[in-house]
């Protein structure tokens, strides 16, 4: 079965807004609370590889995209999560499930101030230890 169908079948109504923007690029949104479960299905079940997480500070919300690669077919599945709380953005960490996410989540946390709940080692990665708190370089400054 095609990977698209397998993802649709295993995630079913967790998927919102399925978009095939370009031949090998699929974007879909999920709810914030489903991220751990979805990662489990994509990474352990369907054996996709996590490329990275990209987060963006949008005017009204934070957007996190988890990019998964289906290497045999050269496709990228980008899972979009929206964090509506601008003041205290928070999401569950996927590091306990996926060791490779450790550095990625640490980087996202220090650059955009998104808190990853349950991360085993959430400390500065690229910035210095004495970087001022609540100053996040990649947030838009008014």
């Amino acid at each position: 079965m095609d990977m698209r169908d397998r993802i649709k079948e295993s995630l079913q109504d967790k998927i919102k807004d399925w978009q095939e923007k370009y031949i090998k690029r699929v974007y879909f949104s999920i709810d914030k609370k489903d991220i751990f479960e979805v990662t489990q299905v994509l990474f352990r079940g369907l054996e996709l590889r996590l490329i990275t997480i990209s987060a963006t500070d949008m005017p009204d919300y934070f957007e996190i995209i988890y990019h998964f690669s289906n290497d045999p077919a050269g496709e990228i599945y980008s899972v979009r999560v929206t964090l509506a709380d601008k003041l205290k953005p928070e999401i569950q960490s996927i590091t306990p499930l996926l060791p490779a996410a450790e550095w990625i989540e640490r980087e996202t946390w220090e650059m955009l101030g998104i808190n990853f709940k349950g991360h085993p080692n959430l400390k500065k990665l690229l910035l210095n230890e004495d970087w001022p708190e609540n100053d996040y370089p990649l947030r838009n400054k008014k």
Binding site: R25, I51, S69, I76, L98, P99, L138
Partner: protein, 402 residues
């Protein structure tokens, strides 16, 4: 001595090449834990990129890394072209060939550089000198194709900036022919040498499962039997029109990582030769892209160290709203946590270097002995330890010299 002791070792000067700081926790000779501290050279390029015009960004991302300085602009261009409808649909034929040639030339020079340094680390300084001797003509070829020996300034959205001259093509082919015997020499020197085999076999093993768990990419993953190569999985340039194969090994030790890189040199030479033969004589090299519409795009290329990933979000203005960059070493260096633990200190330098993290990273390593007192070693001490081990193996094999 507990895990919690942190020994600061300096100096960390931004001018040092690729500062990364490793803290090894050891019991006797054995490494039991490792801390990796990075970020000494963080330059905020993602943020900076948001303030640049789409046309200026290639020059910026080219400077992320001096060794794979064409992978980043290439991945960026692919990401923007993804918004525009795909590289194959907008970039002219001849530019595709030139892009592939640059990409593969870069792989040759990077792998040779790694090979030389790995040779130095195990005390084979002849390998080091020879590798760098054969790397020199590759840089000359770069100069011929792009005008620069480094930071090529060739990539732009929709094409390349400089055409390849017809009269240069025979010279490039001749230089490629002269390169092959050099690679043969390395293959013989490394694959047939019993001491190198003893020194590298079974050292710094990364199992297939660890590769999957840590999302390791590139030659490091291929040495553990994970079959992935962006050039084949998601072809860019003309990589799908040429005849070449993905090199796979299965043991995941440093010996396999070396073999993968040496055999990839042959593939790259073959790809460049085929590209030079098939490249159209005339034709445009630039599509003349003016405006970038709103949207988001992903571009990725197989850099010498693995998958290089760029994500671009555009809102229709002349600047990217978000530019996310993920270099291959970001994933590979993190996996040192599993590959170095369990080995000995004399193997640690080599294991940390085996993912090709752009060297010199091991300049500042702290060794903390868990049971005994604390000892601080610098990079040179560690290289010496590694070289002594090779010497001992050599004496065991050939007998002690008179």
């Amino acid at each position: 001595m507990s895990h919690k002791i942190i020994v600061p070792i300096g100096p960390y000067h931004p001018l040092q090449e690729e500062p990364e700081y490793f803290q090894l926790y050891v019991e006797g000779e054995k490494v039991v834990d490792i801390d990796i501290i990075i970020g000494y050279n963080h330059r905020g390029i993602e943020k900076l990129s948001e303030s640049k015009h789409f046309d200026q960004v290639p020059f910026l991302v080219e400077r992320i890394c001096g060794i794979c300085s064409s992978s980043h602009p290439y991945a960026y261009c692919l990401a923007v072209e993804n918004i525009l409808g795909g590289e194959a649909n907008i970039v002219p034929e001849k530019a595709l060939y030139i892009r592939t040639i640059i990409d593969e030339l870069q792989r040759i020079h990077s792998h040779l550089l790694w090979l030389g340094l790995a040779g130095h680390f195990i005390g084979y300084n002849t390998v080091w000198m020879w590798a760098w001797k054969y790397r020199e003509p590759v840089l000359d070829m770069f100069e011929m194709v792009t005008g620069n020996r480094n930071n090529y300034a060739m990539f732009k959205v929709g094409g390349v900036r400089r055409d390849l001259k017809d009269e240069d093509i025979p010279i490039l082919k001749k230089m490629l022919d002269e390169l092959s015997p050099g690679v043969d020499l390395f293959r013989g020197a490394i694959m047939d040498d019993p001491v190198i085999k003893m020194r590298l076999k079974g050292v710094g093993v990364l199992t297939r499962q660890q590769v999957v768990d840590w999302c390791v990419v590139g030659p490091t993953a291929r040495a553990s039997g994970v079959n992935m190569d962006i050039r084949r999985d998601e072809p860019y340039g003309v990589s799908d029109r040429l005849d070449w194969k993905v090199i796979l090994e299965k043991d995941g030790d440093i010996f396999c990582k070396t073999i993968v890189r040496i055999l990839e040199l042959y593939e790259s030479i073959s790809i460049i030769r085929q590209s030079l033969n098939k490249m159209p004589k005339d034709g445009p090299i630039d599509a003349g892209v003016k405006d970038i519409p709103a949207g988001e795009g992903i571009g990725r290329v197989e850099a010498p160290r693995g998958e290089c990933f760029h994500y671009i979000k555009s809102d229709g203005t002349n600047r990217p709203v978000r530019h996310k960059i993920r270099s291959p070493s970001f994933m590979n260096v993190a996996s040192d946590k599993v590959s170095a633990v369990g080995g000995t200190i004399s193997d640690a330098t080599l294991t940390l270097a085996a993912v090709d993290p752009c060297y010199c990273c091991t300049e500042r390593v702290a060794v903390i002995n868990k049971t005994d007192k604390c000892k601080v070693m610098n990079g040179w001490d560690l290289i010496k330890l590694s070289q002594e081990k090779t010497l001992k193996l050599k004496e065991g094999y050939y007998g002690r010299p008179e």
